[in-house]
Symmetry: C2
Subunit: 135 residues, 2 copies
Amino acid sequence: MFLHVDPDSGLAIYDQIVRQIKFAVATGALPPGEMAPSVRELARELAVNLNTVSKAYQQLQVEGVLESVRGMGLAVASGALKQCRAERVKLVQERLREVLWEARQSGLDGDEIQKLIAAEMPAIDKKLASKLKGK
Amino acid sequence: MFLHVDPDSGLAIYDQIVRQIKFAVATGALPPGEMAPSVRELARELAVNLNTVSKAYQQLQVEGVLESVRGMGLAVASGALKQCRAERVKLVQERLREVLWEARQSGLDGDEIQKLIAAEMPAIDKKLASKLKGK
DNA sequence: CTCTGTGTCATAGCAGACTATGACAGCATG
DNA sequence: CATGCTGTCATAGTCTGCTATGACACAGAG
């Protein structure tokens, strides 16, 4: 799978799973109608407890991203693509706002922050490329 | 004081205090030789427990940012300014890297991320200005 | 029907962060 | 010396996230 969690990222693990599933739906990696990985499979793959994945899936179900198919598993809901595309901007924006605020608070001015961003971007691109290649 | 903590920011409260004290030193708001606010004063001001502030101060002491002055309190160390200025870039960079990576992972390309950043900046500037005015 | 896979629920336990108190030794000020 | 400030330490309790296990009902494949 395309997911990866960091136990000490600040964000709770189940929250990371929720976000990444939404992103996977938004990018089309998980198209509507397709089955999401089973709780047991994903738990094993992420080296995480079954209940942690289950908690994430329950939240995704409540939010309408996933739908339960009796005895089969959880499928991506039909309206999920549009919903996740809209939401991802909001999710990214919120975290971006926090970090930019902290950066300004640290005494760095707008130009310096822009330079840091410009310096990081190539590494991010490279990392993303190697991730896609590894698929 | 110039500090502010968010109980549900993901980051632990004592960690937020450590970071913000370092930033205050880096910006010159807390010059070397000056006394840091007492644990009790800061705890009251942030509506936080005494031990939480104490934990943050202990870490700052271990890292050499603060020095104990027997019976008086904790003073900003002489070499702390240079040290904090170097470190703040690293601290900001680390968080920036995380968020940019998540943003790319969400399927947004570099241009779209740049647009989001550009859209947030004015609000950040405004918030910073009103914070400085309130001093 | 049996077996296996699916999600779901319940319970118990652990660790980290935070809170709530109380107590101590040291120095400065009056 | 006495009072009040400082940091420091210790203990106990709460809450949240995560883990560990076991059990259940349901559906598809053989």
